[in-house]
């Protein structure tokens, strides 16, 4: 029987996808798990696979076109099947401008459930998934056939405060709306009114301009960073670090390595940061409303610039890995990032981040925290600088590092102590053996 093929959810934060290209053409048969199309999501180009075999009967969204989650993008079924009924259903729905969620969702949720497994099967979900789910604007009707699951106290608080439970995403098991979700909603209620998209007029006399559609990635960067600088009380700590020993160490290590294995200063910085985090649990933590979450390993997000913006692939458990492993992993992740082939679990769920603009001639800067992480290090370039040592002026390679700290988790002294450890280890890398 012919079926609608709906836009599946291919990344944790995806709300709509753009068809990059169809791998199968109309009339092509396909097997289960075969790739039908490549879809640009907010972060990466993902392969959209079929859950079961069939024939691609009709493509409704061609390459370059976008579709919201759960929107019909194709019709599949048996070869030669009559699909006119499905087509007229789709086109009559499409005639309505933006079908209201409540009306569109019930059938969509069924199709969605079918379309979703390949997506989640394509990548193991990160460990902290349940905790991150609240951030995930999942269509509400998907939860248990649209029935809202609410803890009794949460229902009572919502009623007392005039909150619409339908507008709240639950962070408990099965999307259960719990007390902390209501508390979060009450806090954000004040700041909620999102400005409607600004439609400029082209009045003669005013400066001419052109509007370019923002890419998915740019939208996500904007909302994430605004989210960060708004509610997160950030402060900054800067430290000067003498890098001569690290540079010597790197030279020694690289002398024994093939060209494609050579490690960078940044690889060492990642390792040292991860090791320091293990000694300062408050920095490797996250503010979660009424709780602080402490992470047991250092999953370091490493900011990588790509053509359309930036992305922070994650080196998992960097505290447990050696320089060579970290180096190889970062090379691999950066290459994937540039090819837009990163899987969601490769760029989400870091516990701490590092942004290095040293190689671009930046001496010192501040970076913006990527929530829910509590801190990020902004690494400047190491440059030969006159310094006073034992009363003598001498030349040392000095690197400036600024840490942005989420003050809800990290206090001034806590952050300073972390930076002390970080500095000590970089200045005396032998301490890492301790």
């Amino acid at each position: 029987m012919a079926e609608k093929f709906l836009m599946p959810k291919l990344s944790p934060t995806m709300e709509e996808g753009q068809i990059s290209r169809w791998v199968k053409n109309e009339g092509d048969a396909f097997e289960a798990n075969e790739t039908l199309a490549e879809v640009d999501t907010d972060k990466a180009t993902m392969e959209m696979t079929a859950l079961k075999g069939g024939t691609l009967l009709k493509i409704l969204k061609g390459a370059g076109e976008s579709a919201a989650l759960g929107e019909t993008i194709a019709i599949t079924g048996k070869e030669g099947e009559d699909i006119s009924a499905l087509l007229s259903e789709v086109s009559s729905n499409g005639a309505k401008t933006q079908p209201p969620a409540a009306e569109e969702q019930p059938p969509a949720s069924e199709g969605e459930a079918k379309a979703e497994p390949p997506a989640s099967a394509g990548g193991t979900t990160p460990k902290s998934e349940t905790a991150q789910e609240p951030k995930d604007p999942e269509p509400l009707a998907q939860r248990d056939n649209g029935r809202l699951i609410v803890s009794p106290i949460a229902a009572r608080m919502a009623a007392d405060n005039g909150l619409d439970l339908k507008s709240i995403t639950g962070s408990g098991p099965n999307g259960r709306i719990i007390k902390r979700d209501i508390e979060a909603a009450m806090e954000s209620k004040v700041q909620d009114p999102r400005s409607k998209a600004f439609k400029p007029s082209t009045v003669v006399g005013a400066s001419p301009f052109r509007d370019e559609n923002t890419s998915k990635m740019r939208q996500i960067i904007a909302s994430r960073l605004a989210e960060s600088i708004g509610p997160i009380p950030t402060f900054y700590l800067t430290v000067e670090i003498e890098m001569d020993n690290v540079l010597a160490l790197r030279k020694q290590i690289n002398a024994n390595l093939e060209d494609d294995e050579k490690i960078s200063v940044n690889d060492i910085i990642v390792k040292v940061a991860a090791t320091s985090l293990m000694k300062h649990p408050f920095v490797n933590a996250s503010y979660q409303d009424k709780t602080l979450r402490f992470y047991e390993q250092a999953d370091i997000g490493v900011a990588v610039a790509i053509d359309e913006g930036l992305i922070t692939p994650v080196v998992r458990g960097a505290n447990l890995k050696g320089f060579a492993e970290i180096s190889a992993e970062i090379k691999d992740l950066a290459a994937k990032a540039k090819a837009k082939k990163l899987q969601p679990e490769e760029y989400t769920g870091a516990t701490f981040s590092i942004s290095n603009l040293g190689m671009m001639g930046i001496k010192e800067f501040t970076a913006i925290i990527n929530p829910p992480e509590a801190g990020i290090l902004a690494i400047g370039g190491a440059s030969p600088t006159p310094v006073v040592r034992d009363g003598q002026i001498t030349i040392r390679n000095i690197m400036n590092v600024t840490m942005s700290c989420d003050h809800r988790v990290i206090d001034g002294a806590t952050g300073a102590k972390f930076l002390q450890t970080f500095k000590q280890m970089l200045e005396n890398p032998v301490l890492m053996l301790m």
Partner: protein
């Protein structure tokens, strides 16, 4: 205030009540010449003699029945079971006679009796000697059930139990006899039956614990505070029946989350009763399903490692608290 072991606090309570009321006497296996299997009655026989401290043969049903008869005749017996496991032999006297006499006699005969002894697990005494029987006895109307967790509670509650005009089952814990705590010097110090005690104040989660799980819950609470900044309230009902549900409900209304930690088995336990009553009286205040932690659903093992796995411990309580706090 003196610092006493639970064992000595119980001994003081018995001695003071024997001195205070000539109707009070202690009876059981090895309670007299041997000073009690767990030395709770140490020195009492020497001080008060055969009439007040009576050794019995190994006949639980028999001496329980003698106790019930003595109570009907106006005395105030304190019957010691070497452990509550052996009370099962005397269950007919406890359930069918002590608990029913006032009702069956149309109010003619009160039975002011205390049955006491250690309940729950000990150290590797295996399945027949490790049972926690509070849920079993609390199920029957006519029986009060008391389970102290500190030296002061043990003393104050035992004195109230002896002075009570109805049957009271007083369930101690062998592992806890050596636990020390401050006990008021006042020899008329009592704690009323049916009154819970907040052992630790908190705002984010309530743990209801009794007997052996109280110190475990307090350790778990400290850990939650230190590692997760979660403030845990620990409530010890002290008396299982009548149950002071008001104190528990007041706490749950404040914290919205409840864990019950107990040493008995899971099915139809006192924790099940507490969970139900909280659901009934504080439904609108719950943020998570009530979590119960019990001994594994199996006869308690002899092997040390298996016994440790079967029983509640601090780590299990911490895990339960984290679960209801969605951590």
């Amino acid at each position: 205030m003196a610092v006493l072991t639970i064992r000595d606090a119980l001994n003081q309570a018995l001695r003071e009540e024997i001195l205070r009321d000539e109707k009070v006497f202690v009876m059981g296996e090895e309670v007299a010449e041997y000073d009690g299997a767990y030395k709770v009655t140490r020195g009492l026989w020497k001080e008060f003699g055969d009439k007040r401290v009576v050794d019995t043969p190994i006949t639980e049903l028999g001496f329980a029945a003698v106790g019930v008869g003595a109570a009907m005749a106006g005395l105030r017996p304190v019957i010691e079971f070497m452990t509550w496991n052996f009370s099962i032999l005397a269950a007919d006297q406890i359930i069918n006679h002590a608990a029913k006499m006032l009702y069956m006699s149309g109010g003619q005969f009160n039975v002011p009796i205390v049955f006491r002894g250690p309940n729950g697990s000990a150290y590797q005494v295996s399945s027949q000697h490790s049972q926690a029987l509070e849920a079993f006895y609390a199920n029957f109307p006519g029986l009060k059930v008391v389970m102290p967790s500190t030296a002061a509670d043990a003393k104050g509650l035992l004195k109230s139990a002896i002075r009570d005009n109805n049957p009271v089952l007083f369930l101690e814990q062998e592992r806890m006899y050596g636990n020390k705590g401050e006990v008021p010097d006042d020899d008329d110090f009592t704690i009323p039956l049916g009154l819970a005690d907040v052992k630790r104040e908190g705002t984010d989660c309530t743990i209801v614990a009794r007997s052996m799980t109280v110190p475990l819950a307090l350790q778990a609470a400290e850990l939650m505070q230190k590692e997760f900044d979660v403030s845990v309230e620990v409530i010890d009902p002290r008396t299982i029946k009548p149950l002071d549900i008001d104190t528990i409900v007041t706490s749950v209304k404040k914290t919205n989350r409840l864990v019950v930690a107990e040493e008995s088995h899971y099915f139809a336990s006192v924790g099940a009763e507490i969970s139900h009553q909280v659901m009934e009286h504080a439904f609108d205040y719950l943020d998570a399903p009530v979590k119960r932690l019990s001994t594994a659903e199996a006869p308690n093992p002899y092997a040390k490692n298996l016994e440790a796995l079967a029983l509640p411990d601090v780590a299990k309580i911490v895990a339960a608290v984290k679960e209801v706090c969605y951590l």
